[in-house]
């Protein structure tokens, strides 16, 4: 794209209406289907004899159930966009994010991405028995930062989380934190890395109002750093505040894809809010 803009430099191009001229695709989902296979989720008897019976008869299929979580979703996301995902519980929003991150295999269809999309889900790497300090380092390394990068950004992460505003809490084990404090630290660690494509699953619902404001600002900042942000939330207000485009999923299908106001209006009408 940049090439094209350069060689037509003499002739000024008409400026598009969209704020950041989203033209470089970062994520392309092409007729994506995701099927979960759940073991032991059958309606059959769960007793030991029943399980043994299944093994003897070599019928593993008896206990496997398939859940078709995403059914043929196609969309293209562009650089600089913040895309909200809405839909009722179990509509496949989180599954779609995991598939984009390459953490779930596609049954059919493909996902193409620019670089490695990351799910804002560093919490899994953190250990409650370790101090906040050690968790910042561990989380940073787990996200693929180098030791130098972690050292460089350490103070920024701690300051952003505001953990130390009420005393030296960062040197205490994370299990002593309140749930809000822990959530703030987790978000701060995850948001410290510059992601090409960042996906946030309900992360903004945590923390007090002041921290929510701060994290929304950080998401806008991440967008400016030429990335694409996906946000799953049931809070329509935080979607309105941060996203310019919304995908509405229902029963694994893409019901609507368009500008935030339009889609949220339709969604609120449908869900009777």
């Amino acid at each position: 794209m940049a090439e094209q803009q350069n060689d037509t430099g003499a002739q000024p191009q008409p400026q598009p209406q969209a704020p950041a001229a989203p033209v470089t695709p970062t994520v392309i989902a092409d007729d994506l289907h995701i099927v979960y296979r759940v073991y032991g989720g059958s309606s059959g008897k769960g007793s030991a004899t029943a399980a043994l019976n299944r093994i003897i008869r070599r019928k593993p299929g008896g206990s496997v159930r398939e859940v078709h979580a995403v059914r043929g979703v196609t969309f293209t996301a562009y650089r600089g966009e913040a895309i909200g995902l809405i839909g009722s519980n179990g509509s496949g929003k989180s599954t779609l994010l995991r598939a984009i991150a390459g953490l779930l295999p596609a049954e059919r269809g493909k996902v193409y991405t620019d670089g490695q999309p990351s799910l804002l889900g560093v919490n899994a790497a953190l250990m409650n028995d370790l101090t906040g300090e050690k968790n910042v380092v561990l989380g940073g390394l787990a996200m693929g930062m180098s030791r130098d990068q972690v050292r460089e950004r350490y103070q920024g992460i701690v300051d952003f989380s505001g953990i130390n505003e009420k005393g030296d809490f960062i040197s205490l084990p994370m299990r002593t934190y309140s749930s809000g404090m822990a959530a703030r630290l987790r978000f701060s660690i995850a948001a410290a890395k510059d992601h090409d494509v960042l996906m946030i699953d309900e992360a903004l619902a945590t923390g007090d109002r002041k921290f929510q404001k701060r994290s929304e600002a950080r998401i806008r900042e991440l967008r400016k750093e030429a990335g694409t942000v996906f946000l799953v939330s049931h809070n329509n207000k935080s979607i309105r505040d941060t996203c310019d485009r919304v995908l509405w999923l229902e029963k694994g299908e893409l019901l609507m894809d368009g500008p935030t106001d339009e889609v949220i209006k339709a969604y609120e009408k449908e869900s009777g809010k």
Binding site: P22, D30, L103, P105, K110, D114, S146, L255, G258
Partner: protein, 315 residues
């Protein structure tokens, strides 16, 4: 299927994309044009090794974090790193040393170091295998949330066990000196021995991790396999001597003495115990065996684990 694509097509029209020369392209062509790669594909073996090398700091940090977290609830804290193996050794001393009065032809001053070395070295392999089997299955949250070469986990768990063993070695040195086995040049042999055993254990943990990811039931079965292996490796007695006493066939004695656990245990005993455990107690070609087991387990385990890289944490 057809209805599905219709819905998505309709909604794609509703989107207010700016007009661009890309409009006519299919998603695959568009992806190709901008150099987008397919998400969630398995990297090649060399690329995988490179990614793993990039994550070396994470592997180290994760294993020491696990080790620290283990005792963080206890009041004595990290003192337990040394206290646990010390208590273990004490129990063995009371049961086997005092109560049963040594074993076979060995006196207590040889038998106790012989026994404790055997237990510690075997525990290293045993706990690596046990940690390996849970490495993926027990960390699904991590695997499903973050992107990193999955081999980091089993490697990190094996490293944690190595760190644990190093703490145990402090206790072992005290016992050795206590029974009159003073440091000598042969003690330096513990470094190649530990390095080879670590490679072997890592390979074992990688194999177990893949097997355990597919069949979590293995975690229930493994303790019994490990215990059988322990009895077949002469951890608490001189196996060769015992078997000769029972007139066991020579090939059986040689096979059991060549099994990896037995090889690493005997090498460690040979390195540390100055009198009472000699070269004659080692199986033939012992260094070649130690190296061979490490290379075979390490390489095969790594490739075997990598083959399923894109499937971990799914389903």
């Amino acid at each position: 299927m057809s209805t599905v694509s219709e819905t998505t097509h309709d909604s794609a029209v509703a989107m207010s994309a700016p007009p661009s020369p890309d409009d006519g392209l299919t998603p695959a062509q568009l992806a190709h044009k901008y150099g987008l790669s397919q998400s969630g594909a398995r990297p090649g073996l060399f690329e995988y090794v490179r990614q793993l090398w990039d994550r070396r700091h994470f592997i180290a940090a994760f294993s020491s974090a696990k080790l620290t977290a283990q005792y963080s609830q206890a009041k004595l804290g990290q003192v337990w790193q040394v206290a646990t193996p010390l208590l273990n050794a004490l129990v063995y001393f009371f049961i086997f040393g005092l109560l049963m009065g040594g074993r076979g032809s060995m006196k207590n001053d040889v038998y106790i170091p012989f026994l404790v070395t055997g237990v510690f070295v075997f525990t290293f392999t045993q706990s690596s295998a046990m940690a390996g089997v849970r490495a993926i299955a027990g960390n699904l949250g991590l695997v499903r949330a973050l992107h990193f070469p999955r081999a980091s986990l089993p490697i990190s768990f094996a490293l944690q066990q190595l760190q644990q063993l190093l703490f145990s070695m402090i206790v072992l040195f005290l016992i050795l000196v206590g029974f009159g086995h003073y440091p000598s040049w042969s003690w330096l042999l513990i470094f190649p021995t530990l390095a080879l055993q670590y490679v072997f254990n890592t390979g074992l943990a990688l194999v177990m991790a893949r097997a355990g990811a597919k069949t979590p039931d293995l975690a229930q079965l493994l303790p019994f396999i490990m215990r059988t292996w322990m009895y077949a490796s002469g951890v608490m007695y001189n196996l060769t001597e015992q078997l000769r006493g029972k007139h066991a066939p020579e090939w059986l004695i040689n096979t059991l003495a060549s099994n990896p656990a037995s090889v690493y245990i005997d090498l460690m005993r040979f390195s540390l115990i100055n009198h009472g455990f000699n070269k004659a107690d080692l199986p033939p070609h012992v260094w070649a065996l130690a190296l061979g087991w490490a290379v075979v387990a390490g390489a095969l385990g790594f490739v075997y684990f990598w083959k399923a890289e894109e499937r971990y944490g799914r389903g």
